[in-house]
Amino acid sequence: MNIYWWGVLGTSAIAFALKYIGHSIPERYLSHPKIQATNLLIPIVLLSALVGVQTFTEKTKLILDHRAAGLGVALIALVLKAPFPIVVLSAALSSALLYHL
């Protein structure tokens, strides 16, 4: 089994386990305010870190290339309240354009 299969199966197994556990345990175990507060913040840091790493790195090197332009356009699209598909498409188009220049 290669890394991709491990990724697919491992992620799926844990994703389901987390959902099922939520449906099965008494509410008091996870209703602590600190857990609730941390749970709201975790997606913010992880998704932001992914934005940074996916845009500005190549393996373990920091790099500035066409992807940064794509991200800039995505940011503008979001500020202009564009829907998600437009955000992604405009980023892809501008990045591809710069890549071919």
Partner: protein, 221 residues
């Protein structure tokens, strides 16, 4: 009663189609990251949680280990457990039904269920199931389309797919940045991940930013 049902169904459908369409972005990004069409479709069928799916393909695509990818994806999937906690007393389901219900417990099904509160508990239940199944169907169909599309395209960078992935993450995090504290936290996470990148194996700098969330969340009274 039937009128209420119609309104709930309309809410569920509009969410399902809009969100399902993101599946095309996932399918394309997944193939661009090196996953096969089958693997991409299995992620949508079995993981069925957008942010976690983007995380696993993002981390592995960037050269991270399977363990780093799975850890990042699972940290993002933790909130589905909290949604289950919220939905369980409402749905009161057991056995196979609980397994199916748990699988479709995601941002959208929980969100629509909670938004039906003024229409009564039956509408909340319907909102959950309609949206859960609706998103599941559209998300998987669009994943297949996106994955095949990307496979036909070839070089991901040539079509801008390498920029589409971070743009998708930005689109996912954007609605969560409601206060200036949230935005400062987001920028700190970007900075921390980038600063750590030259020193840690790929994937770990992303996981390390969880410390920022823990530090802030646990200080809350």
């Amino acid at each position: 009663m039937s009128n209420t049902r119609g309104l709930t169904l309309r809410d569920a459908l509009s969410v399902s189609i809009t969100v399902g369409a993101y599946g095309a972005a996932f399918g394309a990004a997944s193939v661009a990251a090196g996953f096969s069409v089958l693997q991409s479709c299995l992620l949508s069928l079995l993981t069925f949680s957008g942010a976690s799916q983007f995380a696993i393909i993002g981390v592995i695509g960037a050269g991270g280990s399977a363990l780093s990818g799975i850890t990042t994806a699972s940290l993002l999937g933790f909130r589905n457990g909290l949604y289950g906690l919220r939905m369980a007393p409402l749905l009161k389901i057991r056995g196979v039904k609980r397994i199916i219900g748990a699988h479709v417990t995601i941002d959208e099904s929980t969100g629509v269920a909670l938004s039906q509160e003024s229409r009564g508990i039956e509408a909340m239940r319907q909102g959950f199931w309609y949206t859960g199944f609706g998103v599941f169907i559209f998300w998987n169909l669009f994943t297949l389309a996106g994955a095949f599309g990307a496979q036909a395209m070839g070089d991901p960078a040539s079509w801008g797919l390498d920029a589409a992935v971070p743009a998708a993450f930005l689109g996912l995090v954007w609605p969560r940045l409601k206060t200036s504290v949230d935005r400062a936290l987001a920028l700190s996470a970007v900075a921390m991940a980038l600063v750590l990148t030259p020193y840690l194996p790929a994937g770990l700098p992303i996981i390390a930013t969880t410390l920022l969330a823990l530090g802030m969340g646990l200080r809350k009274k």
